[in-house]
C-alpha cells in the first residue's frame, strides 16, 4: 500500500518558535516506519518544542512536516493534533482523573463499537500488565502503573506515530532503565513507530534505534548510540554523550597525533593535514592504568567509586587532567603516581581552527 521508502515522518528544514523568535532551527530528520527515534538534549534545547510541533500543538515558521508523505505542517497551515493520528504520552501522564482506567483507555477509541473497545482495552491491559485494573481510578495507582495506563491510552487508537515526552522523568532513577526497555518491548509488540524526548542518554540508548542529539535548537547529530559515543560529529556531542576529555594535540604524518599523552596512533575521524592543531577526545576506556607496561606517568587527583569500576581523574605531567576507568579491584589512593597504557582504536579529533563547531547543515 505504502509508497516504498516514504518515511513515516519527514521533517524538512523546520523552524519553530514563539513570538517570531525561532526556538528550533532547521530541523531535518526522517523516521522510517517501525523505528524508534529519540530527541536527546539538555533542558531548554528545544527538543520538547520539536516534539510538540510534530504533534501539531505548535505551528512551524519554516519548512514542512510530512507524515506518510502528506504535509501536515507548513507555515500558515497546521493540521490540528486531534486530526493527526498521533499518540502522545506526557511527562505528567495527564490521565483524566474523572475517568476510570478503562474509560481513560476508551477515550481515544470512543467511536469504535463497544465490542471492539472491550477487546482493545482487554488486549492493552494485558500488554501493559494491568489486568483487573479497568475499574480503578488513576489516583489509586502507583506512578509506574499510571505511566503504563498513559502508554496504553496513547496506544489504544493504534496511532501511526507515538510521541513520548520525558515519560520516565518522574520515575525513580533505578526504575528508568528497566521501564524504558519494558516500554520498548511493548512498542515492538504493537509495531509502533515512536519518538522519545529525554535528557537522559542512558534512557535514550536503552530505548531508541536512532538518536538525534539537539543543541541550542539544532540537531547536532542524528545517529545510532554507538556512533554518537564513538564517532561524535562535533565537540558538543563529544562532550554531552558519555564521559571524556578533550586534550590538545598536533597532527603528524601517518595517522599520529602528538599530545601530552604521547604519540597517539590510529585512524583519524577527520582527514586533517599534518601540522593541524586539534583536540583529541579521550574516553575513560581509551586509557588504562598499567604500572608495569604503561609509559605515561600521572598522579591520581580524584576518584569516584562506581561499583564495578573506579573513575579516576589523573593529572598528566603538563598539568592537564584526563578521566580513566579502571576495574575496582585495584584501589589507588589520591596523590599516588600511576602509569597509563594507551588503548585507542581510533582517534576522534576536532580541528582547533574551525572553532566551536555545529553541523553546517
Amino acid at each position: 500500500m505504502q509508497v516504498p521508502h516514504t518515511p513515516l515522518l519527514d521533517l524538512d528544514h523546520v523552524d519553530i518558535g514563539y513570538d517570531g523568535r525561532a526556538v528550533v532551527h532547521d530541523a531535518t530528520l526522517q523516521l522510517p516506519e517501525g523505528q524508534i527515534g529519540c530527541l536527546l538534549g539538555p533542558s531548554g534545547c528545544g527538543k520538547t518544542t520539536l516534539l510538540r510541533a510534530i504533534a501539531g500543538f505548535e505551528p512551524v515558521m519554516r519548512g514542512q512536516v510530512r507524515m506518510h508523505g502528506e504535509t501536515v505542517s507548513e507555515p500558515g497551515y497546521t493540521v490540528p493534533p486531534e486530526r493527526r493520528g498521533v499518540g502522545m504520552v506526557f511527562q505528567d501522564f495527564a490521565l483524566f482523573p474523572h475517568l476510570s482506567v478503562g474509560d481513560n483507555l476508551r477515550f481515544g477509541i470512543r467511536h469504535w463499537s463497544r465490542a471492539a473497545q472491550d477487546e482493545r482495552v482487554r488486549q492493552l491491559l494485558r500488554l501493559v500488565g494491568l489486568i483487573g485494573y479497568e475499574p480503578a481510578y488513576p489516583h489509586a495507582l502507583s506512578g509506574g502503573q499510571q505511566q503504563r495506563v498513559a502508554l496504553a491510552r496513547a496506544l489504544a487508537p493504534r496511532p501511526g506515530l507515538l510521541l513520548l515526552d520525558e515519560p520516565f522523568s518522574s520515575m525513580d532513577v533505578e526504575l528508568r532503565g528497566g521501564l524504558a526497555r519494558e516500554v520498548r518491548q511493548i512498542l515492538r509488540a504493537e509495531n509502533t513507530t515512536a519518538i522519545l524526548v529525554t535528557h537522559d542518554q542512558n534512557e535514550a540508548f536503552a530505548f531508541a534505534d536512532r538518536v538525534a542529539v539537539i543543541h541550542e535548537g539544532r540537531i547536532a547529530q542524528l545517529d545510532s548510540a554507538y556512533n554518537l559515543y564513538h564517532r561524535p560529529a562535533n565537540r558538543f556531542v563529544a562532550d554531552f554523550i558519555g564521559e571524556g576529555t578533550l586534550i590538545p594535540g598536533m597532527v603528524e604524518p601517518g595517522h599520529q597525533v602528538d599530545t601530552a599523552l604521547g604519540h597517539l596512533q590510529g585512524p583519524l575521524s577527520e582527514d586533517l593535514p599534518p601540522g593541524t592543531a586539534v583536540d583529541v577526545l579521550v574516553r575513560p576506556d581509551d586509557i588504562a592504568i598499567d604500572n608495569e607496561q604503561g609509559e605515561v606517568r600521572t598522579e591520581v587527583l580524584d576518584k569516584a567509586f562506581r561499583g564495578a569500576d573506579f573513575l579516576y581523574t589523573l593529572r598528566l605531567p603538563d598539568g592537564l587532567s584526563v578521566l580513566c576507568m579502571a576495574p575496582s579491584h585495584d584501589n589507588f589512593v589520591i596523590g599516588e603516581h600511576v602509569r597509563l597504557r594507551l588503548d585507542f582504536s581510533h582517534l576522534v579529533v576536532f580541528s582547533r581552527e574551525s572553532g566551536v563547531d555545529c553541523p553546517a547543515g
Partner: protein, 600 residues
C-alpha cells in the same frame, strides 16, 4: 496505516492556508469584555458631555456633602475594620485560647449579613420603641427626651453598621497572610530575641501589610457601593445622591456624572489594591512550612482574646440574626403564605439565571485565556472582571441610559413607520437586570473558574487533543467534568451575591417585580421592621452557605497544615506547582488579576 493518520489528506487545497481557529477565542473574549464594560464606558462618556443646570445645582448645594460624608464614612469604616480585623486574625492564627478553632470560622459569619439588613435590625433594637431603650426607661423611670441615647440613624450609625459586617474582609486576608508566612521567618525572629509582641510588630505585621491593605480596599469598595444602609439612615453619600438625581431630579446625565465621580474614588481603591498585591508577591523568601506552634494564652489574656473574638461575632451576626428570628416568629403570617413563596421563587430563579450566565461567561473567558493567552485576551479578561469594583448603582445607571435610549429610538421609529409602539424592550425588563448582575458578579465566577481551570495541567488538554478531541469538546468532556465542584461553587457564589444585591435591582427591576432584598428594603423603609424580617432572614440564611464553604477551605489554607487532606482530594499526582493554597476564596470578590500563574 490507520484512517485517522491519513485524514489530513481529506483537507482540500482550498482550506490549506487556514490558520488554526485560535483567534475565535480571543474574539469571544474581546466581545464579552466590551459588552460587560458598556455601563462603565457610558458613565465615563458622560464626563465629556457639558454639565447641565442640574449638575451645577448639585455642585453648589449637595456635592460637598456627598464628598464629605463619603470620605468620613470611608475613613471611619477603614479604621474600624483594621482595628477589628487585624487583631482577631492574629489572635486566631498565632495564639491558642479557648474557642479559637470555633472563632476562626465564626469570625466570618458577618459576611452573610448584608449591611442594609443589619441596619434595619439595629434600628429596631435601638430605636426609642425598641427593647434597649424600653429597658432603660423601665429601669430609670425616665421618659422621652429625658435621657441621652446615641441616634443610630446617623453617619456614625452607618459607620458602625458597615464596619460590623465588613471587617471579615480584613480578617480573611490578613489571617491568610499570617498563615502563609513561613514559620522560619517567625522562628528566626524569636531566636533573635523578639518576643510574641515584637515578632508581631516587627515581622508578621510588615509581611502581612500588603494583604491587610488588599482586605481594606475590598471593604472600602463595599462602603462606596453601599446604598441600603445610608439610604435607610438618611445619610447623603454618592450612592444616595445618584438615586436622588436619577429619580428626584430626573436628570440621567447629572446622575451619570455623579457616578463618574464615585467611580474615580473606586479607581483610586483599585490602584491601591493592585499596588498592594503586586508587593505581596515577593514576600516568600523561604518555602519551608510546618505547623506553627501557637502562643498559648492563659488567665486574663485568654479571657481577653476570647471576648475580643466573641464581640464582633455577637454584634455582627448573632444579635441581629436572633432579632430577625424573633420577628420572623412573631410575624408568621408574613411568610407562611403563597405571596412570600412567590417572592422566594422569583428571587431564586433570577439568581439562578444570573449565576448560569455569569459562570458561562467566565468559562468562555477563562478558556479563551487558556487556549490563547495572548495579551489581547488577557487584557479583555481583566476588563471583564473589573465589575466587582463598580457599585451596583453605577452599573444600573450605566445600563439604564443606553437601554432607554435604544428603546425610545426604536419605539419612535416603529411608531413613525408602522404606527405601532414597541414600548420597553430592554430597559425595565429582566434582561437589563441579568445584564447588570453579569457585569457586577462576573469577577466572582471568573476567579473561581480560573482557579479551577488552573489546577488542570495543560498536558490534560494536549492529551485529549492527541486522542482526537476538538478544543470545544475537550472543554465539555474533560475540563467541565473535572471542574464540576468548582463550577458548582462558582454558581453558588454568584447566586448568593445576586440574592443580596439591592441598588441595581431597585433601579432596573421591571415594574411590580420584587426580590427578597427589595421587599425587605421597602418594608423596612415603611417602618414595618418585623414584617421585613422574613425576607431579610432568608437572605442571611442563604448567605451562610458560601461562608460555610469558605470556612471549610480555610481550614487547610496553611501550606503544610492539613496537607494530607489536600493530597487526598487532589486527584492528579503530576500536578505542577502552579496551584496556590486557596487562602482567599472567591466569595470575597478578590481581585482576580492578582494571580497570573503563567508558567511557560
Amino acid at each position: 496505516m490507520t484512517a485517522s493518520a491519513t485524514s489530513p489528506g481529506a483537507h482540500a487545497p482550498a482550506s490549506r492556508r487556514l490558520r488554526l481557529p485560535f483567534s475565535a477565542w480571543s474574539m469571544a473574549a474581546v466581545v464579552t469584555a466590551l459588552v460587560l464594560a458598556l455601563p462603565v464606558l457610558v458613565i465615563f462618556g458622560h464626563v465629556f458631555i457639558p454639565a447641565g443646570e442640574v449638575w451645577e445645582h448639585l455642585r453648589q448645594t449637595v456635592l460637598a456633602d456627598y464628598v464629605t460624608n463619603s470620605l468620613v464614612l470611608l475613613v471611619g469604616v477603614g479604621i474600624g475594620v483594621l482595628l477589628i480585623g487585624v487583631p482577631v486574625a492574629w489572635l486566631v492564627s498565632m495564639c491558642e485560647f479557648p474557642g479559637r478553632s470555633v472563632f476562626q470560622w465564626a469570625l466570618m459569619l458577618p459576611l452573610a449579613m448584608p449591611a442594609y439588613i443589619i441596619a434595619y435590625t439595629y434600628t429596631g433594637i435601638l430605636d426609642f420603641s425598641g427593647p434597649v431603650q424600653g429597658l432603660i426607661r423601665e429601669l430609670t423611670g425616665l421618659g422621652y427626651g429625658e435621657y441621652w441615647f446615641p441616634e443610630i440613624r446617623s453617619l456614625g450609625g452607618a459607620m458602625v453598621m458597615l464596619l460590623l459586617v465588613l471587617y471579615p474582609y480584613v480578617y480573611l486576608l490578613s489571617r491568610a497572610a499570617f498563615l502563609e508566612q513561613s514559620v522560619c521567618v517567625l522562628e528566626v525572629s524569636r531566636t533573635l530575641g523578639a518576643g510574641p509582641w515584637e515578632g508581631f510588630r516587627r515581622v508578621a505585621l510588615p509581611l502581612a501589610r500588603p494583604a491587610i491593605i488588599a482586605g481594606l480596599t475590598l471593604a472600602l469598595m463595599e462602603v462606596l457601593a453601599d446604598y441600603g444602609t445610608v439610604a435607610y439612615f438618611g445619610v447623603s453619600t454618592f450612592t444616595t445622591g445618584v438615586f436622588r438625581t436619577w429619580y428626584g431630579l430626573g436628570d440621567p446625565a447629572a446622575a451619570a456624572q455623579l457616578s463618574a465621580v464615585l467611580l474615580s474614588f473606586v479607581f483610586v481603591l483599585i490602584l491601591l489594591e493592585r499596588w498592594s498585591r503586586a508587593k505581596a508577591r515577593f514576600h516568600h523568601t523561604s518555602r519551608r512550612y510546618s505547623t506553627l506552634p501557637r502562643y498559648r494564652l492563659r488567665g486574663w489574656k485568654a479571657a481577653g482574646a476570647f471576648f475580643a473574638c466573641l464581640l464582633p461575632i455577637l454584634l455582627g451576626f448573632l444579635i441581629p440574626t436572633l432579632q430577625l428570628g424573633i420577628w420572623a416568629v412573631q410575624t408568621t403570617d408574613q411568610w407562611m403564605n403563597p405571596r412570600f413563596a412567590g417572592l422566594v421563587f422569583n428571587t431564586f430563579w433570577l439568581a439562578i439565571a444570573a449565576a448560569i450566565i455569569a459562570v458561562g461567561l467566565a468559562l468562555v473567558l477563562a478558556y479563551a485565556q487558556r487556549m490563547e493567552g495572548g495579551r489581547v485576551t488577557r487584557v479583555a479578561v481583566r476588563i471583564a472582571g473589573m465589575g466587582y469594583a463598580v457599585p451596583g448603582t453605577v452599573i444600573a445607571i450605566g445600563i439604564m441610559i443606553p437601554f432607554a435610549a435604544f428603546d425610545n429610538a426604536l419605539d419612535a421609529f416603529m411608531r413613525d413607520t408602522f404606527g405601532v409602539s414597541t414600548g420597553l424592550l430592554l430597559s425595565g425588563t429582566v434582561f437589563a437586570l441579568l445584564f447588570a448582575y453579569a457585569v457586577r458578579f462576573l469577577a466572582v465566577s471568573l476567579q473561581t473558574v480560573e482557579a479551577g481551570l488552573g489546577k488542570i495541567q495543560p498536558s490534560m488538554d494536549d492529551a485529549a487533543r492527541s486522542l482526537g478531541l476538538h478544543p470545544l469538546k475537550t472543554l465539555w468532556q474533560v475540563h467541565m467534568p473535572i471542574m464540576r465542584g468548582t463550577l458548582l461553587t462558582a454558581l453558588l457564589l454568584v447566586f448568593v451575591d445576586v440574592l443580596k444585591e439591592l441598588p441595581a435591582t431597585l433601579i432596573l427591576r421591571p415594574f411590580d417585580f420584587n426580590t427578597l432584598a427589595v421587599r425587605a428594603f421597602e418594608l423596612a423603609g415603611d417602618e414595618r421592621l418585623p414584617e421585613s424580617s422574613s425576607a431579610a432572614l432568608a437572605i442571611v440564611l442563604v448567605g451562610l452557605v458560601p461562608v460555610i464553604l469558605l470556612s471549610m477551605t480555610i481550614g487547610r489554607s496553611r501550606p503544610g497544615q492539613g496537607a494530607g487532606q489536600e493530597d487526598a482530594t487532589d486527584e492528579d499526582p503530576g500536578r505542577r506547582p502552579r496551584s496556590r493554597p486557596l487562602a482567599v476564596p472567591a466569595g470575597t470578590a478578590v481581585n482576580p488579576s492578582a494571580d497570573d500563574p503563567q508558567d511557560r
